[in-house]
């Protein structure tokens, strides 16, 4: 696209806010009570983050991988791709993230993290935001339990929790893998934020 600079954010939005809202609403209705399972898995991930035991680390990574895989398949691939062809790539990216986490768990690469205070604190705040603040905000806005965005069900809280947990464990899979594992969730959050901005502007 040689004239890419002439495009505005809204030019990339190929569906209406109403269509997107209905799609999310229908998805959340379809998967209920997966929200409760997601919330439980998120809280378990936070609790496991307190432990430095290798088994706890692997279990935490397993929960995270499952969350990314579910969102890839149930949301991006099965629903979102029907109105946004780019969601196919998001599904692929989330599946790759899940595969990376799983392969590292299976390869026994998890190790006791060498903690640094700022990353630990930032990571904990982000993970709490993903697991607790997202659904709480939905409830405070008057949404029902089946309509709230939850870790393991919706992409944004899943990506945010993923970033938080990875930051909270800087040595989780060894430093060489650490940065690589942050790329997909960070990019997905950027894309999600851009979509929200474009939807609000349209």
């Amino acid at each position: 696209m040689s004239d890419w600079w002439t495009y505005r954010l809204g030019d990339f939005l190929m569906f209406s806010p109403a269509t997107y809202a209905r799609l999310v609403e229908q998805y959340q209705r379809d998967v209920w009570p997966a929200q409760l399972i997601g919330l439980a898995a998120g809280l378990a991930s936070l609790w496991l983050a307190r432990s430095r035991h290798a088994h706890a680390l692997r279990l935490q990574a397993l929960l995270l991988a499952s969350a990314f895989l579910w969102v890839a398949w149930a949301f991006h691939w099965q629903r979102y791709a029907s109105i946004n062809w780019a969601a196919t790539y998001l599904a692929l990216a989330f599946a790759v993230q899940a595969a990376l986490l799983l392969s590292l768990v299976l390869a026994g690469r998890s190790e006791t993290p060498a903690e640094r205070k700022w990353t630990l604190r930032t990571g904990c705040v982000l993970a709490l935001a993903g697991v607790v603040a997202f659904p709480l905000a939905g409830l405070l806005m008057g949404r029902s339990w089946s309509q709230i965005a939850v870790f393991g069900v919706s992409p944004e809280p899943t990506a945010l929790t993923g970033i938080g947990l990875l930051l909270a464990r800087p040595g989780w899979f060894g430093r060489s893998w650490h940065g690589a594992l942050l790329v997909i969730p960070v990019l997905s959050l950027v894309i999600g934020a851009a979509t929200r901005l474009a939807l609000a502007d349209s």
């Binding site: 002439t6 030019d11 190929m14 209406s16 799609l23 029907s82 109105i83």
Partner: protein
């Protein structure tokens, strides 16, 4: 009634680059009874109504059954009001399949003029076949190279399909004033039947070179974004309709904007997109009644630019 709004006293007229203007002001029901203004596609001699139906965003509703049914109803209203040309693209998400479902749900054989696009830098033929299956039509009436993407590869493919009798018209598209110089070069150097571009009360760059060139070379013109995707109408709707709107039988700003686009003698069809039955009827009504002449068109553009 001012003389400049009248070009002739014929009930309606079909000719390339000609206007069909009513001599007398009719009431809305009387106007609705009139056939929609049509224009001739110079390369084939076929006539099509000057107002079509776009599908960008509005028909991309995914698997939402209620929304798909609503789109089918919009299509029913569109054909019922005399519309024919529907435009889509593989880039428009689920729009092609929604159109296909809509066509399938309508009784009889809708008189659709199917306009789609090829949008890929690789092999175009498989994508075109997928699009055709989604539309559920035997062949397309018009295929356009979407936003000039890989036009050097795709245009020969479309020309070959046309030569084989598998396609009736070939075209190119651009939007929002992009790459007009390249569009002009293609219009001058290639055999194309259609060019699609953005043209409305505020975006008038096409008047300078592309629209006159289309007239000169007998290339039909599809107008996208006649309402700037709604951005044009939102501020206008806060303003009262000017007195001259009544002179061209417009009861809404949308009709003013549409009549401005379709009254340009080079324009063959404008393709506003909507998911509202009321709006599609309102749009089709703009194809009827009196049209502005050159002087009033200038006044319309000046009025809107000054707001």
């Amino acid at each position: 009634m001012k003389r400049r709004t009248l070009l002739n006293r014929l009930p309606w007229l079909v000719a390339p680059g000609a206007f069909a203007l009513r001599a007398q002001a009719e009431s809305q029901p009387e106007r609705a009874a009139l056939p929609a203004l049509t224009r001739v596609i110079a390369s084939s001699g076929e006539t099509i109504p000057v107002v079509g139906l776009g599908s960008w965003i509005t028909f991309n509703v995914g698997n939402d059954r209620a929304a798909r049914t609503q789109c089918a109803e919009v299509m029913r209203a569109f054909f019922g009001a005399g519309g024919r040309l529907i435009d889509s693209s593989p880039m428009y998400g689920s729009s092609q399949g929604v159109i296909g479902d809509g066509l399938q749900s309508l009784a009889g054989r809708p008189p659709v003029f199917s306009a789609d696009k090829v949008w890929t830098s690789s092999a175009g033929a498989p994508q075109i076949e997928t699009s055709r299956q989604l539309w559920r039509v035997p062949q397309f009436d018009l295929l356009q190279v979407h936003n000039l993407l890989a036009w050097e590869q795709q245009l020969p493919l479309l020309q070959a399909m046309k030569a084989d009798g598998r396609l009736r018209h070939v075209g190119i598209t651009t939007s929002e004033g992009r790459r007009h110089r390249e569009v002009e070069q293609i219009m001058r150097s290639q055999r194309i039947d259609f060019v699609q571009l953005s043209y409305n009360l505020l975006d008038r760059e096409a008047e300078e070179r592309l629209l006159p060139l289309a007239q000169e070379r007998g290339i039909a013109v599809l107008v996208n974004r006649p309402f700037r995707q709604g951005d044009l109408l939102r501020p206008l709707q806060r303003q009262p309709l000017p007195g001259w709107a009544g002179e061209i039988d417009c009861s809404t700003w949308a009709q003013v904007a549409l009549k401005f686009a379709i009254s340009h003698p080079a324009v063959t069809c404008a393709i506003p997109a909507t998911s509202s039955i009321a709006h599609v009827r309102e749009n089709l009504a703009a194809a009827r009644g009196r049209m502005p002449d050159a002087a009033l068109r200038k006044r319309m553009a000046g009025h809107v630019a000054a707001l």
